[in-house]
Symmetry: C2
Subunit: 464 residues, 2 copies
């Protein structure tokens, strides 16, 4: 029995194991879940030990623990660092859009596994874990050296990861990095992501009176902080949808014509757009295609808005304060700290003198661009062909995996961004799912990737 056969035979077991992992409420942004998040790390570490890795450790950080596991018994072969995260987004059920099955009770419907984290990222990292298991169980060895690095803070900005990598360079050193934390276009259209956006996540708080006031008694003589917040936020965009912060676009790279042409061949159609989003109409910065708007242009988004009376009914209150969660997606070369400072300056300028404002940085990360002309990228393409039966396309992606820039900077190695999910997996929304067929194909892709990389020298693999 080869590794692929082993994976095929053990599908049910693998799915049940993944369900166990998905039951943990490892919501990294909510401190009330800290204990369960730590238990998730513990479960994962035990599981990595169970599949046959030589050495597994849990590293504590000021935040959530990092799980590390290695198998290094292939001295002359390349070393593959496989990164993923075990933390998940909050469930955020709403009356309009509830979870059809509870977010932490994994449920299979129509060939999909529904649970928070099913695709982002527990299911995707687990496919690689199972690929390694299949190889180890059937050949008693691996074609390459493997290092797993699975963190618990990706959804809260990986705030302790960079310093961990910096202080554990020797432990983590590798010839290539593999990340499955994105989605492909369709089962027969896998995607290698070559650009990721960076992130600056902030809170803008506007304060006025010392406490909530009666809007009748004081409306008209006290500047309303919720009104002021809306005015500030409205002024952060130009009428055409571009961001109105002086200097914001200074370091944004222009998109080469060849790249624009290549992207035109993979259109994101209006039909797909409406199907995925349900938005009333398309929208975006003029002069750029949808793929460019998402992957290669920076944005500023309001992620949350709160102030005053927000319950059922009416309360005539003039709120003491109002708060917005505002984040910018950045592209390669934009420095998150610089953008934060520019935003801070702009908000200060926009703040009326009858209120005060504060901009707080919650987290940030760099964008990245990957050179797609490398042997390692070709190995990923071949692996995709084995797993999904099709050659991948190369696309920029709108999300942020800040550690990609860190790996590039620290180790000077290619980063293979080979997603296994689908566009409608409902990441960061109710009813997140992972197609089981993609879980199985992902395991095969993982096996094929390690086999292919095992035929190459470390030098060939690390060439960017």
């Amino acid at each position: 029995m080869n590794a692929y056969e082993y994976a095929a035979v053990h599908r049910n077991t693998f799915v049940n194991e993944l369900k166990s992992l998905l039951k943990f409420r490892s919501i990294s942004t909510l401190t009330e879940n800290n204990v369960e998040t730590a238990q998730t790390a513990q479960w994962l570490a035990e599981h990595l030990h169970h599949i046959g890795l030589n050495s597994v450790s849990i590293f504590n950080t000021p935040g959530h623990p990092i799980v590390y596991g290695e198998w290094l018994a292939a001295p002359s072969a390349p070393t593959v660092l496989i990164y993923g995260h075990y933390d998940v987004q909050p469930p955020d059920s709403t009356p309009d859009n509830p979870w059809l099955s509870p977010p932490f009770e994994p449920t299979i419907r129509d060939g999909n596994l529904y649970a928070r984290g099913a695709a982002d990222d527990k299911g995707q990292i687990f496919a690689h874990v199972k690929a390694v298991e299949a190889l180890l169980r059937t050949t008693d060895k691996l074609p390459v050296n493997v290092k797993f690095l699975i963190e618990g803070e990706e959804e809260s900005g990986s705030i302790n990861l960079d310093s961990f990598i910096e202080s554990h360079k020797d432990l983590l050193r590798a010839d290539v990095c593999v990340i499955s934390d994105s989605h492909i276009l369709a089962t027969d259209r896998p995607v290698i992501v070559y650009a990721l956006r960076g992130l600056v996540y902030t809170e803008i708080e506007v304060r006025g009176p010392k406490s909530d006031l009666h809007s009748g008694a004081y409306g008209g003589v006290v500047y309303n902080p919720a009104q002021a917040l809306c005015e500030i936020i409205a002024a952060l965009h130009n009428p055409d949808g571009s961001v109105n912060i002086p200097g914001f676009y200074d370091r944004v790279r222009s998109i080469p014509e060849t790249e624009r042409e290549a992207l035109k061949k993979v259109p994101w159609t209006d039909d797909e757009f409406f199907q995925e989003t349900g938005a009333p109409a398309p929208w975006g910065e003029p002069g750029y295609s949808r793929r460019e708007q998402i992957g290669l242009r920076p944005t500023l988004e309001v992620n949350g808005l709160v102030g005053g009376f927000i319950m059922e009914g009416a309360k005539t209150v003039l709120p003491a304060k109002a708060l917005a969660k505002v984040s910018c997606r950045l592209v390669a070369d934009q420095d998150p700290q610089t953008i934060f400072e520019l935003l801070k300056k702009r908000v200060a300028e926009l703040t009326p003198s009858a209120v005060t404002s504060e901009v707080r940085l919650l987290n940030s990360g760099n964008g990245a661009i990957v050179n797609i002309q490398s042997a390692a990228i070709e190995a990923a393409a071949v692996a995709y062909e084995r797993g999904f039966g099709a050659r991948p396309v190369y696309l920029p992606e709108g999300g942020s995996i800040p550690v990609v820039a860190t790996f590039q900077k620290t180790f000077q190695i290619p980063v293979l961004l080979i997603g296994l999910g689908l566009p409608d997996d409902n990441l960061h929304a109710p009813n997140e799912k992972f197609k089981l067929d993609h879980f199985y194909r992902g395991i095969d892709t993982g096996i094929a990737l390690l086999e292919r990389l095992g035929t190459m020298t470390p030098e060939t693999v690390r060439a960017q």
Copy 2:
């Protein structure tokens, strides 16, 4: 023992009775409190019966019940309709501004009675109840006929009151109406309110994608509903702070020069403003004094704002929708329904085509102006002198008591707006209080008012 002496002797009893009334969580905007709100009406009705009214009824409405009680044994004397409300605002404690004692456990500190509703309006209406009791217990009769009308929906827009009044005109007919639901400037500076603002309370909801989206995966191609809401709200004001809704000011009465001069004599100083509000700086529509801005000019206020992720930490979500609670304070002659239509039209015009919006009317009420040159108003001034030891000043007030316009329209009678509270009573905010000294003075004022009105003919009293 005369009525004043009776009131002085029974202070402790009266305060304990008021505490019993304040313990009820009669929050009219929250349906979960419906049973307790009905129990409050029951308690009040029993209490009105207990003090010696001839007839007491509870009228059910589609919302909260109305309590009515009457004593009509003075055939040739004027009839006084005393209006108040037993419902209260939600407690709305915040981590920054918590209740120092629980809102529904009335607590005395430094001569103040702290509880939700202490001043607005349970404490104030109860002063009149106790005035009637003091007269009945010491003289076995009243100098006038008295009708109490105490509703349970003032804080949710008195939505069933107008139709109740319309269908119970004969029951409620009176020569003058008395309302204590406002505040005075200081113990030695009582205030007769001669203008009240109307109200239109709405919700503006903006919707975009069918569900919350990942702000990385879709930020840049989907119009963000929270951003759109901020843009709409920002555009509802002009840079100078006036309301930017075409037609909004069409029916706003200009302020006569004599009235402006009179108001100048009762300045609302910067010191007082800062003391009361804690706002960083004064603000307001240019060309108007603070008293004019509050009492004689309409406004548009954001009472609440909510959308997307509003919990601790960071969630990179592009929200499916965002909602604002927006209300306008109106002045006499502005029609609430017309203003609602104008707001709706303006929001529709401002809504970008890539999102949808809806403006919902939650409640509304008319503003009012009272002629201060009447015998009934002079009776109120004399009563204030007896209770507070000082002549009142005449001021416009920023809040809304829509029933004033209804009483004026329905019965063509003077409405005496004689508040008993203080500016720092924290209405609609945590730590609402009522100064016990004002409760006692309010009872004396109530006794004096009924005595004075009893010396007048019904015709004199009803002259406006």
